[in-house]
Symmetry: C2
Subunit: 592 residues, 2 copies
Amino acid sequence: MRRMISGGLIAVGLLLAAGPATAQDLVRLQQDPNQWVLPGKNYAGTRYSELNQITTQNVKDLKVAWTFSTGTLNGLEGAPLVVNNTMYFVTSFPNIVYALDLTKPGAPIKWMYKPNQDPTVQGVACCDVVNRGVAYADGKIVFNQLDATTVALDAQTGKVIWQVKQGDPKRGETITAAPLIVRNVVITGISGGEFGVRGFVTGNDLNTGRQLWRVYSTGPDSEVGIGPNFKPFYDDHKGKDLGVTTWTGDEWKRGGGTTWGWYTYDPELDLFYYGTGNPGTWNPDQRPGDNKWSMTIWARDPDTGEARWAYQMTPHDAWDYDGVNENILVDQEINGRMRKTLVHFDRNGFAYTLDRETGEVLVAEPYGPVNWAKGIDKKTGRPIENPEKRTKQGANTTNICPSAMGFKDQQPAAYSPRTKLFYVPTNNLCMDYEGVEVSYTAGVPYVGAIVKTYPGPGGHAGAFIAWDATTGKKVWENREKWAAWGGALVTAGDVVFYGTMDGWFKALDAKNGQELWKFRTGSGIIGAPMTYIGPDGKQYIAILAGVGGWAGATVSQDLSLDDPTAALGAVNAFGGLKSEIPRSGMLFVFSL
Amino acid sequence: MRRMISGGLIAVGLLLAAGPATAQDLVRLQQDPNQWVLPGKNYAGTRYSELNQITTQNVKDLKVAWTFSTGTLNGLEGAPLVVNNTMYFVTSFPNIVYALDLTKPGAPIKWMYKPNQDPTVQGVACCDVVNRGVAYADGKIVFNQLDATTVALDAQTGKVIWQVKQGDPKRGETITAAPLIVRNVVITGISGGEFGVRGFVTGNDLNTGRQLWRVYSTGPDSEVGIGPNFKPFYDDHKGKDLGVTTWTGDEWKRGGGTTWGWYTYDPELDLFYYGTGNPGTWNPDQRPGDNKWSMTIWARDPDTGEARWAYQMTPHDAWDYDGVNENILVDQEINGRMRKTLVHFDRNGFAYTLDRETGEVLVAEPYGPVNWAKGIDKKTGRPIENPEKRTKQGANTTNICPSAMGFKDQQPAAYSPRTKLFYVPTNNLCMDYEGVEVSYTAGVPYVGAIVKTYPGPGGHAGAFIAWDATTGKKVWENREKWAAWGGALVTAGDVVFYGTMDGWFKALDAKNGQELWKFRTGSGIIGAPMTYIGPDGKQYIAILAGVGGWAGATVSQDLSLDDPTAALGAVNAFGGLKSEIPRSGMLFVFSL
C-alpha cells in the first residue's frame, strides 16, 4: 500500500530537499497513503488519498464503524490525523487533544490533554471557538490553543514538551489555525482581524519552542520580512515599506492581515504559502489606501520567514474578503505549458490559479455569481471593480455578491490528479454592508460595519462544486440548502466526501457529482474528512461533526435571532439552522 | 404487526378497565409492537418488544441507521418514545424536548421545546442533572423539568398546553423522573432525598394540569393517603400514623422518601406502583425508628392516590438503599400457583417477587454478594440484619455490600415472556460508610454520611444478569468493568440490549448471555434502549448515549478526583472513567 502520493514532482521534491531525520520522517509519512499526517494530507494540501478500497460502486455500503464523543459542543473544523495507528485531533475550546489507539476495539483513548485556559478568551474569538487541527512531526503533536499558546506534546504520552505564548488575548489575539511544520520549524499564524490585531506569522523551533523568526502582515519592510529576495510579479506590489505607505497615519498598527487560514509548502521551491485577512476595521473609509499587506497571498522561506513574492487580491478591501483560504499546490498545464501552480478559491469570489514560483496570475475567474468586480486585470493583477458595490461609511450598499463570508471560507477544497479537478465546498451568499466609524480599544471589537447576509441567486446558501483550475470553469455542482462549510476529501476510488451544515455526510462521484451515499450525523458538519488504513487493512473515512464556526455560531453559541446583523451578519442567513440542528461534538468513522 | 403485547392478562385487563377515549388510545398504542409509547414499553414496565426482525442470528449485522445530537453533555437516562412515526425524548438539563419526524430521511426535527429554567437549579440536583423521559397520552407529551415543573406539550406542535410547579428548588425539590399517565391523571414524583425533602407523589389532570391529589411519603395517615382501604400484608406496616410515630420528633418533616424512580400500573387491579427513597439524612443515628414510609413500595389508586398496601424493604435505613427501583408487573407461577407478581431489584441487594395484590413477599433473594443482611424474614417481611454492617455515627463501617448505589440503581430491567427471565443491569459495588451529624437548612445538602465506594468481590464494578424471579436465582451473567448503569431491552428475537458506561452498546443472546454484537458509541451509556418499526417497515433500535448520573457524574460534571468520597462516594469507584470516556449527548438508531 505504500505508493507515492499524487504529484510525483512533489514527492521527488521532498526527497531532494533532504534535511534532518525529522524532516525525512514527515516526508516518508505523508507519502504513505495508509496514514494521514498533515491536516491537508500532504504539504501540497491536496486532500487527495491514493486509497481505493472505497469506490463509486461500493460506497453505498459505507457504515459507521465506530464513534467518539469529543466532550465539547462548539464548532469542529479540521480533520483528525492518523500516525502510526494512532488518531490525533483537537477539539474546539477548551482545545482537548485526544490520541485514540486504533489497534484496539473501539479505539480507546491512549491519552488526552486538556489545557487549562482562561475561559474569558472565548470572548475575543470572533466566530465561535473553533480549532483547525494538530500537526505532527518527529514524535510530537503540535497545536495552537485559542489563547494564542502553541504547545508541543509527546505523541506517545501526551506530555507537554514545550509551550510558547504567541500573542495576548487581552489584545484580541487568539489562534484557531493548525500549525505547519517544515523541517525543524513550527509555523503558526494569529487570529483577531475583528479586534484590530496586527497580523503576523511565527517560526518556532520544533524541539525547544524557541522563536526563530516573526514576520508581520503590515508595517515597514524590515518587520514584514521583505528584503533583497522579494520579487513580486506585479508593479503594484513593488516599492519600499508598502505595509506603511498604503495606509493612512498609523492605521497599519491595527491593520489586521491576520493569518488564521491554512498553510502549504513546496519542498522543491522550499517556500511556504498562506494568505492574510481583512485590513483592520471593516469600514474602508477609515483606512484609505491599498492597505498592504492585507488580503495577500505570500510565498516565504520557512527557515527565515523571508518573503519571496506577494500578491494582494483585494486592495483596499471594503467587504471583509479575507485572503486566508488555502493554497493548493499542484502542477498543471496552462495554455499548453506545464506550470507550478497554486490554486486559491478566495473569499472575494474569484478562483485564482497562480504561478507559485512568481506570483503571476494565470487564471482568475469567478466561481460564483460575483458582482463587486468584473474580473481580474491580468496586467496589473488588480480587480476590475464595479463602483456600485464598493461599500462606504454611512451608506448601506446592498446586494453585494459574495458576502463577507465569501463563496468559500475556511472549508478546504481538494484536488484529484485522476480527474484533474478541484472539489470545492462553497457558499452562495450575498450581503448588504454599511461602514460605520469605530474607534480602537485594545481587546474590544474593531469591526466598523453593519452586515446582513442572505442566500445568493437561486436561493440556496451553498453548493459543492468541481472546478477546472486550468480554464477557470465549473464542471458540475451539487446544491445545498445551507453553505457547504466543511472541507473536501477526494480519493483514488474517485469518490469525493464532504459534510453539510444540516448534518449529512455525503459521498459524490468525483467525475460527475452524482450523490452516491449520505449519512445523518445528527449535527452540522464544518470539519474536513480524512481517510486511512486501519490495522485490519481496511480503509476508513473519518469526519468530525459539530456545527459552529462563523456561519454556525447561531447554533453553537446559541445566539439570539432578534438582530439579523448579529454575528457579523451571520444571524440573518443562518438563524434558521437553530431549529434544524443541535450542537454536537462527535467523531464518526466509517468503513465498508 | 398489531399483535397483543405479552402477558395477555394485562392486555385483557386494559380492555376491561374501559375509561375515556384517551385511556383507550394509550391502551391501544402500547399494545402495538411497532410503537413505544411508555418509558417501559407498557404499563407493566416489561421493556419487552414483540418485534422479531432482529434475531440472535442476524444481530451481528446491526448498523447505525442515523444519529442525532441532543445538544447537551450531561447524563442521558431513559429511552425515547415513538408514537405515530414521531420520536420524542427529553435531554438532561436544560431538558430540551425533541420531536423527530421518522417519515423523512435522517429524521429531521419536527419541533423542539427548550424550557427557560433558572440554571442555579442544577446546584440542588444530587447526582447529575438527568431526566428519565417523557410520557405520551391523548396527543400530549408530558415531562418534568429539573426545576420541579411538570409541562404538557401538544405532541403535534410542541406548544405548551399547561405547566404546573410541583416543588421549590430553593428547598432542594427537583424532578428527574418520567411521569406516568393513567386515564386523565398525570402521576409525578419528586427528587431531593439529599436535601431533606419530604417526598410526595402528585396526580394532575391531563387536560388542565389541575392538581387532583398529593400524597406524602411521611407524616400522618391523612397526608400519606392511608385510609380504610389500606390493607398492608405485614403487621409491621399496620398502625396509625406510622409516618410520624416511627420517627423521632419532627424528623419526618424532612424525612426523605422521595419518589424519583419508575412508575408502573396494573389496569386490572387499577393500582399503580412505585418505591420511595432514603429517609432524610443518611446518618441513621439522627433518626431512630423504622422511618416509615421511606424505602417502601406502594400500591395506590391512580384516581385518588389512596394507598392499597405498602411494603417497607429497609426499615431504619443505614446505607442509603433507596427503594425507588422499578416494579415490573408480570404474572408468574410461584410454587405451582399463578400469582400476580411485582418484581423489584432493590438497591439493598435483594430481588423481591411480591404479590402485587397484597404486598406479600413471595421470593426475596440477593442478586449480588449482599452482606448487610442474611435474608428477608418471610413472616415479618423484615431483613435479617448482620449487626456488623449496620452503620453508625462517628464510626467508619467498612466493606458493606452493596454500596449506597445498590446492586442496581435507576437502570431498569426487562422481562421476556418467552424466556420467563428478567434481564438486569447491575452494579457490583461495596462501600465504607460513616454517619456524621448534620443540621438542616432548606436548600442545602442534608446528607450526614461519608461514603467511599469500590468494586465488590471479583473486582469488576458491574454485570448484566438474567434472573429467575420465581426461584430467586441468577441464570447467567455477563461481567462489565464498570457498573451496568443503563437500562435493558429484550425482544421476541430473543436478543437483549444494553449499554455500558465505557461506551459499548451490546446485544446478548437472551437465552444464554452470549455476546452477539457490540458497537462503540464514543461515550458512556446510562440510558435505556427501545425498539420500533419505522415507516419503511424495518425494526430499529434506539439508545441515548451520554455518560453521567450518580456514577458517571465524575465525567459529566468534570469532578475533581482529589477526594475519593466526593459525589456521595462515587469519585473513588468511577474517577477512572474520566480518562476513558468523554461527555456526550447523542442518540443512536440502529437497523439491519
